[in-house]
């Protein structure tokens, strides 16, 4: 069977158009701030449009029925090139990009959030040129990580993300930015070097760096080998997610990072971890995935409960949202551990909807911080009277975050719980305790809404202005997606179904 190929190498374009943007921004004069902003917006808008085209193309490819042909060796994938391009042929390193049901939604989300974040960054005043150059470089790394199908390439993109993120936090961040930046860099580098060793071990064991080829050979790896290599990859990905106890970089990075960077961190970078687990850990090392199922579920459970409890104790709005990410990503881990199609779909749903919702919440926190210059929850009160539109938007996303039905957060949590409850590998009591997380989430979210928007209006905020048009423009698509996926989950599920079934079949034949 011939693999399916895009009419033109669209993933390569999506990945490298922002790189052209980096060069374009660097060529502009430092003083021409407006030109720099719009250039950056343009070079993130084009990949966004292409990612919509990608979604459409993938959808129509599924319609042909060719994509999930059981005789095909490359089920579910559409590639940039019919044959991997020789890049470093002596050691079997090739250039190949491809997308399947795991990556298509993520690529779309990356395109959307990058564009939105760049628009949201128009308020950046200092060192504008550098800021947008780093931002576009970050987009290159993200798009590349989701598209690369060769481990060498994957690793390069994975690492390329670190550097711009380090600078974005370290230069434009809050008061403790340098600490947060180096902490982020150290944690992630620590994880990724383990991944490097795992990649090398895999290369010497299987003689290939082609990820699909390595998946195809998954039955041939010895059990202990699987256990070790899985663990090495898992550490790298778990730090990114972040799974408790590797999460401590996250609150620092989130709180110190400028708004748009927090959006990208929460919306995309955390998903890299779960994406890596689904792309690499599960299909490549099925025996280890089954063996590690309970520990991963426990880590997920601890994340859910711990994250929610810590969120409750926060007085800083941004920190609250940051810790809620730890809790929400715990659901993803539970879904991954459960190894049922429903739970894994739930994990993917959660990746998508957490990206949208938390991205939006960080934008909203940024909106209020820009005006009030504080994020102390206790400092506000009764803002609902003064800022009705802002309050409405905030409440929408907060409700989505706590898992209100008809919003996207609910779908993912529901799928994860039901999928994990029916799993053969995860004990039911873990799921039952995890459901408590929903109650805790409701508690801290409602308390936050109450303290900020309800109650006595604090006259200190008489001069607070309502959310402006540009800010609404950045939030509107996210709100639409939240409602759309919540009301009609099939719109996302249609992309996931085939790939997820396929994935589960690889683990439990």
């Amino acid at each position: 069977m011939e693999p399916m190929v895009f009419p033109y190498p669209i993933l390569t374009y999506i990945t490298f158009i922002p790189l052209i943007g980096v060069i374009a921004v660097l060529l502009l004069k430092r003083e021409s701030v407006g030109a720099i902003r719009w250039t950056a917006a343009l070079f993130s808008f084009v990949p966004f449009v292409l990612s919509i085209y990608l979604v459409w193309y993938y959808f129509s490819a599924m319609g042909t029925g060719m994509l999930f042909n059981i005789h095909s060796q490359t089920q579910g994938f559409v590639f940039d090139f019919a044959k991997p391009l020789a890049w470093f042929p002596q050691v079997k390193i090739h250039y190949q990009m491809g997308a399947d049901g795991l990556s298509v939604p993520m690529l779309f989300l990356t395109g959307l959030l990058s564009f939105i974040s760049i628009i949201a960054s128009f308020g950046i005043k200092e060192r504008v040129k550098e800021y947008f150059a780093w931002f576009l470089l970050l987009e290159v790394g993200m798009m590349g990580t989701f598209s690369a199908l060769d481990f060498f390439l994957f690793y390069i993109f994975w690492e390329i993300m670190l550097v711009p993120m380090y600078f974005l936090i370290g230069i434009w961040g809050g008061p403790r930015r340098e600490y947060a930046a180096i902490k982020f860099f150290l944690y992630t580098l620590f994880g990724s070097v383990f991944m490097l060793v795992a990649i090398l071990a895999l290369y010497f064991a299987a003689g290939s760096l082609d990820m699909l080829e390595l998946i195809r050979q998954n039955v041939s790896y010895a059990h202990t080998f699987q256990m070790w290599v899985f663990a090495a990859f898992f550490i790298a990905f778990a730090i990114k997610v972040p799974v408790w106890p590797f999460h401590t970089w996250l609150p620092d990075a989130h709180v110190e990072a400028p708004t748009a960077v927090s959006v990208i961190l929460a919306g995309i970078l955390l998903k890299m971890g779960t994406y890596g687990m689904l792309r690499v850990c599960l299909p490549m090392f099925p025996q280890a995935a089954i063996a590690y199922s309970i520990p991963i579920a426990l880590l997920g459970l601890i994340g859910i409960i711990y994250g929610a409890l810590v969120s409750m104790a926060q007085t800083d709005l941004k920190k609250l949202v940051a810790y809620s990410s730890v809790s929400h990503m715990g659901y993803c881990m539970l879904g991954i551990a459960a190894l049922t199609p429903m739970a894994i779909s739930g994990c993917l749903f959660q990746m998508f909807s957490h990206g949208v919702i938390t991205g939006a919440l960080f934008l909203l926190v940024g909106v209020i911080y820009d005006r009030a210059h504080t994020r102390e929850i206790a400092a506000f009160g009764g803002l609902g009277v003064k800022l009705p539109v802002y309050t409405g938007l905030f409440t929408l996303f907060a409700m989505a975050s706590l898992g209100l039905p008809a919003l996207s957060g609910f779908v993912s949590e529901f799928l994860v719980f039901v999928g994990a409850y029916n799993s053969a590998f995860v004990s039911r009591w873990i799921v039952l305790v995890a459901v408590l997380g929903v109650v805790l989430t409701a508690a801290y979210i409602l308390r936050m809404i109450q303290k900020i928007f309800l109650g006595q209006f604090n006259t200190r905020w008489d001069n607070l202005t309502e959310i402006n048009g540009r800010e609404i423009f950045t939030l509107a698509p996210l709100g639409a997606l939240t409602i759309l996926v919540g009301v009609y989950p099939e719109i996302l599920n249609v992309f996931l179904r085939g790939t997820v079934d396929n994935l589960v079949k690889m683990i439990i034949p």
């Binding site: 890049w87 470093f88 042929p89 002596q90 050691v91 390193i93 550098e130 690793y155 390069i156 690492e159 390329i160 670190l162 550097v163 380090y166 600078f167 370290g170 230069i171 930015r177 340098e178 930046a181 180096i182 860099f185 150290l186 580098l189 620590f190 070097v193 383990f194 490097l196 060793v197 090398l200 071990a201 290369y203 010497f204």
Partner: protein, 475 residues
Amino acid sequence: MNVLLILPQIFLFTWAVVVLVWDFVPRGKSRRGLAYFSLLGLVIAGVMTIVIPRGEAFSGAYLSDDYGRLFNLIFLASAFLTILASVDFAEIRFNYRGEFYGLLLMATTGMMFLSGANELLTLYVSLELATIPLYVMAAYMKRDLKSTEAGLKYLIIGGASSAILLFGISLLYGLSGTTYLSNIRGGDLGAGNMNTGLIFAEVMLIAGFGFKLAAAPFHMWAPDVYEGAPTPVTAYLSVASKAAGLVAFVRIFFNPLAITSADWVTILEIVAVLAMVIGNFVALAQTNIKRMLAYSSIAQIGYVFVALSAVNGYSIVGMMIFLMAYLFANIGAFMVAIGFSNMTGSDQIDDYAGMIRRNPMVTVMMAIFMLSLIGIPPTAGFLGKYWLFAAAVKEHIYWLVVVAILMSVVSLFYYANIVRKMFFHENPDESKIYYGPALGIGIFASGVAVILICLAPSIFYDWASQAARVFFPQF
């Protein structure tokens, strides 16, 4: 007998003598012309190195093979960059400028002999030819107390380590009855029987080379010498001189002594761990950029030893690619430091604050060099470490790789510290820092090379694997 094979060395030596003599022709004080003349000589020697045939000369005492050739190109490239780095520095700091370039060419000639030396005495004499000019160069700023101290320290330690090396060589000769490496039969030496004499010889050789390489625990001289010596000399010492130690070390240990590897890999592993741990942790505490780079270069040699203790084809590939990466990144970083101290007179890391405003291009290049030294893609340093670790993973020496990984993470702290200062911090003084054309070209070319080696790796891998096939024909 095939004298043609050492043509590049003969040529370069002659060129060095011409430079020395020409220096006596009275002109103004500037010797820029001589610097560019020396560069021309290096380029011609490089072309010769590429075109001369493979073979052996002087009844097997000198080999011209892919391994030596690649090392020769590394020596020539580092000399080339060092001269580019020296042009402005010499104008400011040196009294006798022409000699400097002559000495540099002579040291390079010695190293180029060393790369092909296949006989113990040839090897020893070449090593001396390579080091003795460096003693002089380390003490070149003779009114500067630190430079004088550096020269003296280097001379004493260098002499002592040569003696240790010579002791090892004579033991090896006593055991095998020959000084020709190709005639030494590892099996006859009693490999695997814990032959005390052999192990003693190996320890002596490792210690002798360890001093030359500044690998811990033989590194004590390095920080003082690196700090005191004129910065271009430090750059050259930290790259070319280390490569010279490695070329000879591998020639002896991977060829006749490879069969006895069970005896000595443990020693290499210990050296690797010590070098990485001491180098990295002490580098953390440094405030002077030269000292920081000195300690980090101790750590960098540790990574090479991780691969060498695996004793396979990937060890050579890793060492070669790593050295190419290290050559450009390290000399590049030194060039940035040289330009900075030419303008400000400071080597303090704190003074690099706000560098991004003072010279954005150079700052970005420095960030690339630092990323390469940490080993983050898309830079050459990543590819170097990739192959170094690959060698050890292939032999399942995972514990050593894990140590190397942890130490790479530690190295992030101090390399990123410079980046942090340059990009994150403000400096009240925002005056431009001007880099002259020689430095500018050198820095830019190094930066491009660092990226290129990672993104177009095939050609470099081909060279490295040809070098590896000298020792592992099946590789």
